[in-house]
Symmetry: C2
Subunit: 215 residues, 2 copies
């Protein structure tokens, strides 16, 4: 099973690495990290470089397409080479998946027109403006398209997808391998659960960052 | 706050990227990925390359040291340059943290002699043989040393550490930013919860891999 994970400048590392860590453990998985140019991309805060091992042109098809998000989502969504590639690979994929604002890239490729989908909680309005049917959920499955919530949700999504592709026992074995028995010290991982002042603070911070990126 | 995250060949990506995704969001955080040689390392299954931005010699000190694990733990634990670096940085650190089999590297550096610590569930015996007091827990804090369970546990550990370093509100805001509201599709993330045949299958697979690596 050929798995292509898109990399682009200023992606959020965990969006890509969470699903990778799960899906690479599927029997027969061949994971390739794909980007516009060979070399490295840097993550949103520039701290980490991830290797682009194949260019878009070198990977014309994949069984499973994974599109992460991150602060660079807008620039990636405005890059015709990236958007065309998503559209083409999606056309032949068995499953097309996104994490966080990766769904905004799927929407830019026209893949989510009228399709129930989700994204990072702060971007549900943006997802709607781009033609999808925004859905508040950890994971949204619609035919062969699977989208999920922000950043860390990619781990849950990839485990659900592993169960669908390879059966519950394989998914459970992967979960046990990565000791995914989550025990967050707080219960503040969604806007419904976190204190309102933190929700507002993050909304303001992300709005400022998006405005700067759009300039 | 200077945060140094060790990279070595055949590390497990999520061990490093989980804590990075959390800790890089701390106010004043400066994250550097450090390795034996400039360039990049490949992850355990070779699918992903991570950039080494600074060599060990270039980073003689850090406020927060993070040591990931992965199949390459044994080779890293036998590399005097890596072990000496861990020992030196730990001597001046404010916090020394490990994820998964990263604690076996801390033990190789003599940092865990007689210290309560944890690791991936399959390696608690190895941790004991290396002088630590093995402890079954998601996170173990002992003075300035914080160790955690396998792979995904680094996210929980980094959130707990964020609360200690910057307060509960900062930690909650980071949790909300990365939408860490985990919803695994199964409850199989620890050997106490997973079906026994899967625990045995993974033990056997890891034993075979470790035997091959030790040859």
């Amino acid at each position: 099973m050929k798995i292509a994970i898109l990399l682009f400048d200023r992606l959020t590392a965990l969006d890509a690495v969470g699903p990778y860590e799960v899906l690479a453990r599927l029997p027969g998985a061949e994971v390739t990290f794909v980007g516009a140019a060979a070399g490295f991309v840097r993550t949103d805060n520039r701290s980490l470089g991830l290797a682009v091992d194949r260019t878009l042109a070198e990977v014309p098809a994949a069984d499973l397409l994974v599109v992460p998000g991150g602060f660079g989502w807008r620039a990636a969504a405005e890059d015709p080479a990236v958007v065309d590639w998503i559209r083409r690979v999606h056309a032949g994929s068995r499953v097309t998946a996104s994490v966080c604002t990766g769904s905004l890239l799927l929407a830019a490729a026209g893949v989510l027109d009228g399709v129930p989908a989700t994204t990072h909680w702060n971007y549900l309005g943006e997802l709607e403006r781009r033609g999808a049917v925004p859905t508040v959920a950890r994971i949204v499955e619609h035919g062969k398209i699977i989208t999920c919530a922000g950043v860390s949700a990619g781990i849950d999504m990839a485990l659900a997808l592993s169960a669908r592709l390879a059966g519950d026992d394989v998914a459970r074995a992967i979960q046990l391998s990565i000791e995914y028995d989550p025990a967050p010290p707080f219960d503040a991982g969604s806007p419904a659960k976190a204190p309102a002042h933190l929700v507002e603070a993050i909304r303001a911070r992300l709005a400022a960052r998006d405005a700067a990126a759009a300039r």
